[in-house]
Symmetry: C2
Subunit: 319 residues, 2 copies
Amino acid sequence: MRQAGRYLPEYRRLREKAGSFLKLCCTPELAAEVTLQPVRRFGFDAAIVFADILLVPYALGQKVDYVDGDGPQLTPPIGVGEIGYLRDHCDASVLSPVMETIGRVRQQLAPEVALLGFCGAPWTVATYMVAGSGSLDHGKAKLFAYRDPPRFAELIGLIEQASIEYLADQLSAGADAVQLFDTWSGVLAPEEFERWCVAPVARIVAGVRARIPAAKFIGFPRGAGASLMRYAEHVAVDAIGLDWTLDRSFAQKVQERRPVQGNLDPHVLLAGGDALDRAVDAVLAAFAARPFIFNLGHGILPDTPIAHVERMVARVRGA
Amino acid sequence: MRQAGRYLPEYRRLREKAGSFLKLCCTPELAAEVTLQPVRRFGFDAAIVFADILLVPYALGQKVDYVDGDGPQLTPPIGVGEIGYLRDHCDASVLSPVMETIGRVRQQLAPEVALLGFCGAPWTVATYMVAGSGSLDHGKAKLFAYRDPPRFAELIGLIEQASIEYLADQLSAGADAVQLFDTWSGVLAPEEFERWCVAPVARIVAGVRARIPAAKFIGFPRGAGASLMRYAEHVAVDAIGLDWTLDRSFAQKVQERRPVQGNLDPHVLLAGGDALDRAVDAVLAAFAARPFIFNLGHGILPDTPIAHVERMVARVRGA
């Protein structure tokens, strides 16, 4: 439940104190506190480090601003001509506060509570880097990839290398496992999904394991739909995130291959009531017989009432 | 290739002449001309009537405005309290220009060129009616459905009834087949997909066939992913639209059950060049051995160069 804190009053107070979102991500004392808040409140079995998938573009040399209401702005946007700019401006040291956050959280967290690190998967990170912002159909990155595959592969390769170092550092700093969020993998044609989602993440997993053989991964190609089986077959992650849309009998076939996590619709948590109870039961009925981590199928929605989260946790724990 | 005309200069000239988009849809002489333009230019095997999925909300009593840049605005937005408003304000006669358009097109079209009618599927239409506009995650309609399923079922039922009459009228006016576009079916959890996408479209198909037993349907639940098989099993359409993201081996299993159409990524048509040739070949290689209609996996993008469409048509015809 990535950045679960955003709907909590204790988070919003800290957010105001920090000033900018980026500052909050890069101030270990505050980021550690935000990471711990939902665990303290709900007694979750795992914490996920408070950070952002756009820290990697920042480390690669883009200026990253979070403009309230407008979403993130990345400058310069990366086209065919800006790969060199990235090579000249990258600075991996901007990521070091995240490792300090992980160290602080690990010290304060009970040993039986897992700590997860994460980064964005290369395709998803590239969609922001190329558009210079969020975008609806990720058309700019798709066009770049179609029109100049070698240069786009170069950009993906830069993100891959930065991600390998970043995830290995997170594991060394105390993360028990790391997640790879491919939030926008669902917009690609099948060959493109293979090339820009499956292959890069497979290489990242191999690259991190070359340094840390016991490294544990959760891969989450959101919206992959029927392509999720291909991902499960070819990416050696330890578990696979399920979004909330996936057909259950298909998802169970994926689960025969790898442990799964996720699946609850964030909107049903927002809605609450009987619909929430039924949805929790449906997820448990489908997946609890095999290795499964109960979780949402995407980030929690900001207006979600705390009472709904409590109701969900009680129902899962009581099942 | 829905509303293929939007990227053509001859369309843009007519659009200016008509004034508003709604006026263009509801002026048979102009709508017929727009419908015929791409067939004349490219010699396509089928034409699709120029209309819009939001004509049904308009007939159900919402005011529908197309605001340039901002997308459609529907007033009042439909919540639990506005179902009665719809019952008081609906007026099916606003759809009659579409039937006149179909009659005009059929007269001018060569007999071997198929003419397709269409409407939006109830879930997709409801997302606009509830939000009062387009929306990113269709959260308002999802929440309505989770919080008050009986009232949401009532709204879906109103759309269903209007769609049955509308599609039957289109077929009577001269359409050879009708399409049901469920553009936003991909945002629903599996039980919700079953309830708000599969079941309503199955009822529409049955309802139209009760009047016109030979009625032909193409169902297009975009983004359904692995749930597409369930749709293929339970909705008695004559063909199924494939978006551009679907895993090919999965799509082939769907094709074993029903003919399919679509699949080319609109962005690769915009990109052109070698990528376009390879993508056309991949689609044909996957599907041409069984009943298949070559088409895009979603609407054509407005900036698509005409030369790319010509290149695609030549490659498909030459294959």
